[in-house]
Amino acid sequence: MTLRITLSTALAAATLIATPAAAAPKTDLRVGMAAQDVGQLDPHRAVSTIDRTVVAWIYNGLVRFKPGTMDPAQIEPDLAEKWESSPDKLDWTFHLRKGVKFHGDFGELTADDVVFSLKRASDAKTSAFSADFAAFKTIEATDPATVHIVLARQVPSLLGLLTNYSGGYIVSRKAVEKHGADFTRNPVGTGPFAFVSDTPNQSLELAAFGGYFRGKPKLEHVSYRYIPSDSSRDLAFQNGEIDLVYGKQDQAWINRIRALPNSVVDVFEPGELANLNLNIMAKPLDDLRVRQAIAYAVNRPELVKWQGADTARPGQSVIPAGYLGSVKDVGLVNTDIAKAKALLKEAGYPDGVTIKIIHTQLPQMLGSMQVVQAQLRKAGINLDIQVVDHATFHQQIRKDLSPIVYYAAARFPVADIYLTQFFHSASIVGKPTAVTNFSHCDVADKEIDAAKTETDIEKQVSLWADAQKKIVAAVCAVPLAEALQIWAHRTDLDYGYELKASLSLGPLLTEATQFK
């Protein structure tokens, strides 16, 4: 009897121990990123998707896009609680939120930190985004909680430059001065998550910042793991070892992950528009008829079908859809192989033409280019593709070594940025002011410049529309397809907002992000 009682007691005790009262939700988030390592955690030099995704969790801007959106109309206060501007939009005053703390022991945010950050973002020696701030005349702190910015000329979206994106992030002056060049591995911001440690080629660890001005984040710890192998990353997600994973812009991947239990695929903006930039100065592309033949040979629906209906949509203009100033009816031609052949013949290439180009070995970009290659071949345009690694590709296209450059990019969603960087003559590669104008296009400078300072929004949009039409008519570039951002997460992870867009190209983690 005694033995029976003892056994029953032990069993009951064991059952009690084994049965959790109520399973507490997880608070540690594990993220799997397609990366060998993180590059720059200094936000003013963070340019890759790998860096930008995580930088957005550490820093704030003066203003921010409402989480899950990238609509300039939905820009809301972040570190600045309010702002005002002069009627001519040249004088701006920002009033800072009080009591905002930097991570660690770097104290409270002051106007001095903001001035320091914006001057740093506009300095070519310290920022990859300095060109965006060219119109800034003065940035001053009028008191510890007020920042006054004077512009030399109007810019299409000043607030856009000051969002939680690219050069708009605010850093701690003390931290930058303390760490110097090592700041890139010792980031100090005001965001919901603070840097804890970085293990090269393995992971980056972040912890919830208890002093975050919107309240302590519900997640306590974020592990940002670099998993370069696509297969291993997918297997780790499938095996429940990571909760949030960087995906592939590929329909087969989307379908496979959707079929997994407890998995949600996130498809969100911005779409990265792939343009086929044609160097209008290089033979045989200096002949408009050859460029038009390429435009007629390209088959956008086929490209979208190849990439996948969920991740891609046809390019509608030379700038991505949905940007302020992007228009649909810009005169893009539909596929017409007979017309393409006729144009080539007219241009003096009755037997077709061969063009040597350089392209990256990145699988997604290479695959798309091979589809384009097959399409152009039907019209007698043979692309002789020299495949190089991605770093080499970037170096060589900037030396004008490829007459056709396939380039996919997303930018701040206002037409001016894309048009200026890709189609304004000041941005032609090789010039001291070069950015990414690979086509040497200069046909729309007048409209792009006029739109920059136009205060009437309707006239501004009309100027941008005219610029797009001129660029399309001159066939400086042939739009191909836009690829949306693809990630996947486990169903128990709740971002705390509806993810429709993220300019950092990864899901934003906020104080509300949690496991259900």
Binding site: S203, P228, S229, S232, E241, P432
Partner: protein
């Protein structure tokens, strides 16, 4: 023996000097600009020039070379252009993982390969021999990124015996051993496939020698003939292959580390190459070459230990 080691170490100095020079030139011959890799596509030429100046890449290449050589000879491999961490620090963190993986794979390769090779030789052309050769061929046919993924699907995804992400928790050696099994097996299987073939053919050759026949005629036990007289003489070519294969193992560890997401020199070197991190690349390649020199030295010393005739 000590004199032999000193002579070999002295002989390796010119090799390392040549390696330093070659490495410096190689990383710069490879197209790609570290400044563009770091700052991306929106950086203006002015910004790129500023970073090149900050990294010292705007200076005369000869000045860069002599500075690198001077520092390297003093044991200073510089700091990473991307992370600003000391190259030695990253090497010190990654190297033990690569060495452990290489040694574990070598142990698996030898422990499977040598007995299987002997066994196959003793059953020449029999079913055991045919099966061993077939398995060896299979082992050689699968690249590590295929066999690695296969092992992950079976043992991690289906059987849940091992994790997919293989970076061990610092200081937890049990976790380290647990996460070492699949990567070491992936590399070790390929090595075993090589070793089994060499051991088999070497053993067959030795077993046909006159002195083996004499030993048999004198009534020396079979076990003694095989292990003492046969294998000890058949080991020289096996040691050569193992020595050479360690170099291949270190190279293959690059892929294994990526598939299993393990820390190690391989991951660091791929990362440095992707980001055109010249200083890190230089440091890594110097270490790789140094490891190969050391392995060759150990191989030569092993010859002497196995066969006293070599020492003479």
């Amino acid at each position: 023996m000590i004199g032999f080691i000193i002579r070999r170490l002295l002989a390796s100095i010119p090799t390392l000097l040549a390696v330093l020079t070659l490495v410096f030139l190689l990383v710069r011959v490879v197209p790609g600009d570290p400044a563009i890799a770091i700052l991306g596509d929106r950086a203006t030429p002015e910004t790129l020039a500023a970073l090149r100046a900050e990294l010292g890449l705007d200076r005369w290449i000869g000045a860069q070379y002599f500075e690198f050589l001077g520092h390297a000879l003093r044991g200073d491999l510089g700091t990473s252009m991307v992370t600003h961490r000391a190259v030695w620090t990253e090497i010190a963190e990654a190297l033990p993982h690569t060495i452990v993986l290489t040694l574990a794979a070598m142990a698996i390769g030898c422990l499977i390969g040598i007995p299987a090779g002997v066994w196959a030789a003793l059953h020449r052309n029999g079913p055991i021999d045919v099966l061993t050769r077939l398995l060896s061929l299979l082992g050689l046919s699968f690249p590590v990124f295929v066999s690695g993924i296969f092992l992950l699907i079976v043992f991690a995804l289906q059987l849940h015996l091992f994790p997919v992400i293989g970076n061990p928790r610092p200081g937890d050696w049990i976790d380290g051993l647990h996460k070492l099994v699949l990567p070491a097996l992936t590399l070790g299987i390929v090595m075993a496939a090589y070793v089994v073939r060499v051991t088999r053919s070497s053993m067959l050759q030795v077993l046909g020698e006159d002195y083996i026949r004499t030993a048999r005629a004198k009534g020396v036990p079979r076990r003694s003939i095989i292990w003492r007289h046969g294998l000890s003489n058949a080991l020289i070519p096996v040691v050569t292959v193992v020595g050479l294969y360690v170099g291949i193992l270190i190279g293959n560890s690059v892929l294994t580390e990526i598939v299993f997401n393990r820390p190690g020199l391989g991951k660091v070197i791929v990362s440095a190459l992707t980001q055109r991190d010249y200083t890190m690349l230089q440091g890594m390649m110097v270490i790789y070459c140094f490891l190969i020199v050391v392995v060759n030295l150990i191989t030569d010393i092993s010859y002497g230990l196995i066969d006293p005739r070599v020492k003479q």
